[in-house]
Point group: C2
Chain length 375, copies 2
């Protein structure tokens, strides 16, 4: 059963998941590891969800998803980016993860080559392993402002390039001209471009640009788990080039039939921009506060433009950030995510701090941390 052995060998666990389990041992754990918002979704979401349940909307929707929801998403792109998207190009998925799987099933076969930045979200390479594709990683760091440039890829032969902006774990936003240059590089070479825009909305510096502003051929993936604060409702979307809609629909019909029905009705009310502004401002405040605190201790060379993470170089204190994360959990009951979850090059020097809890909660953690490190 070589496939099982491969699953254990190649599909790496998230350390953050293991940490979450360990962290539950302590009642007073301070959570800097959690990758989901603690804020509620827009009030209308809860109301619509209750109504959908009352109305017993328990049957499947069509695989592409509720037409009304796909229209709301299209309207969102017009409002946020000024781009006109045919709702017929939008596929609703049961969470953003499955949108990645649909994209990889479409684009990558055994032996095909996926390009990723190092560091990047750990699932990407695991999805590649699931479709038996190979992953090539290209370092991002201070030398390229944590944004891949065409010259970083050089003549690498890739089938797919997959980027995220703002990025997990670094919070870096691709600047418009950088994004465009990368898309042109891919177009010229016949490399499919996948843009993970899940943290759009949670942007505090500059303005997020969708890949669709520069290309109708890009696959854009987004969802309701971060900015829209609905992680447990498991709902994402993808925007596909016209020619890929039908193949993606076939994959969706098989892979998951349709996204959850009541959640789709609930998401119709998710585009409450007054509420979403408050969500963004809450995270902006937390970012400002935590950045102020952590930059006194660690080197933060990735500009934290968005998402809800700070990527901290802790090598001034310890050689091995994995051991350091265990030390922090056991000694201080502080949970953080070791950088090694996200890549292979410099990642042993880094910890990822999430600001997904209140400033009061984080302040308690910072007190413990400062006392411990400064003695």
């Amino acid at each position: 059963m070589k496939k099982i052995e491969r699953a254990v060998r190649e599909i790496t666990p998230f350390y953050v998941m293991e940490l979450l389990r360990k962290a539950q041992r302590y009642e007073d754990t301070i959570h800097f590891e959690v990758g989901q918002p603690d804020l509620p979704p827009a009030p209308g979401v809860k109301k619509a969800l209750l109504e959908a349940v009352e109305a017993e909307r328990f049957a499947y929707t069509e695989s592409l998803g509720l037409r009304a929801l796909r229209e709301k998403i299209a309207a969102h792109y017009l409002r946020e980016y000024g781009v006109q998207i045919d709702p017929g190009r939008i596929l609703i998925t049961p969470g953003t993860s499955l949108a990645f799987m649909v994209a990889y099933e479409l684009l990558l076969g055994p032996g095909d080559r996926l390009g990723l930045s190092d560091p990047s979200y750990p699932c990407y390479k695991n999805f590649a392993a699931m479709v038996d594709a190979r992953t090539l990683t290209f370092p991002v760091g201070p030398h390229n402002d944590y944004q891949l440039r065409p010259e970083d890829l050089g003549e690498a032969e890739l089938d797919v390039l997959h980027i995220a902006s703002p990025s997990n774990p670094t919070g870096t936003l691709y600047r418009a001209e950088r994004l465009e240059a990368l898309i042109r590089h891919c177009e010229t070479r016949g490399i499919a471009f996948v843009s993970d825009e899940l943290y759009h909305g949670l942007v505090y510096e500059g303005r997020a640009r969708t890949a669709l502003e520069f290309s109708d051929e890009a696959i854009v993936i987004n969802g309701f788990s971060k900015y829209f604060c609905m992680p447990g409702l498991r709902l994402g979307w993808m925007i596909l080039p016209e020619a890929l809609v039908r193949p993606a629909e076939l994959i969706a019909q098989n892979l998951y039939i349709a996204a959850q029905t009541p959640a789709q009705y609930a998401a119709l009310e998710a585009f409450d921009y007054a509420h979403l502004d408050r969500v963004r401002e809450t995270f902006r405040e937390r970012r400002d506060w935590l950045y102020g605190e952590l930059s006194q201790l660690f080197t933060i060379d990735a500009k934290p433009d968005g998402a809800f993470y700070l990527w901290c170089d802790v090598s001034a204190y310890r050689d091995d950030a994995v051991a350091f994360s265990e030390e922090l959990l056991e000694r201080l009951h502080i949970a953080v995510t070791p950088g090694i979850d996200f890549g292979e090059r410099q990642t042993r020097k880094y910890l990822r701090f999430a600001y997904t809890r209140s400033i009061e909660h984080m302040a308690e953690g910072m007190e413990r941390l400062k006392q411990y490190l400064r003695g």
Copy 2:
């Protein structure tokens, strides 16, 4: 982009999905094509779902699923089959389809060989295509009572054998000794055994036996979409051999993070056996009625023990059942599923009739059909 071309070529659409779309053109369509129950889940499910939403349970659960739900499922196996299952061997999935994907990701790599009966549920071979495995099909029919026997497989070299009992599209239940013989055959040859038991509970003749009564190494897949009447809540489960739990959890963490949170809380109330008995009796009545009607017109050689389908040989009327299904839809506004969705050998002779609507609804369809065929 060979992968996309393959998706279009190899991943066959469900004709039933296309039919559903066409059927919406007519206001008076009689639905014999629908693969989901029209009955509501147990009243406690709705109540628990409302409570979960009120309590804003919108965060992720752990990837294996709520411990309490896994315990309820284990208790269900003790009650129904007398088998003791460690809840730690149960994985909750966002719908049964994704349980198949997890199983195939675990067990099948490029070029590996999956064995299926012909006919069988069309997704199986599509999932195999997604992991680049090959599918070998073995005919079931009157010669083997629509249940694969070891001699039907012979010396075929397989990595996985995947059966369903009761089966979609035929409604056939594997008899205990037949199931056991097949499992022993697989064990002897190192063939992994996957048992789709999604239609358990909807059994009207004999008693459904789980593969777990005969082997701890079988992978058993089931869910809440049929017997429990919760299709749109997208919730399934799988029971794994001890050694596969951890690899399956890794795949789940990546593939979908966790099943929908409110739905998991709702499912805690799904094991309402008085309600479930009423569901079974409703479908039994419908089966009896529709079998009585259809067997006057068509040959039904598959014994309809369970599920909610009748597999009818229509070759006495038309050579091509696909063309016949289109004729019935266009002329009579009767939607049925052509057998070709389910296999490649005899399937052009068959139509699948689902009894997922009331007898009143079906009676109107039968009136139209009898008048049309008898002139």
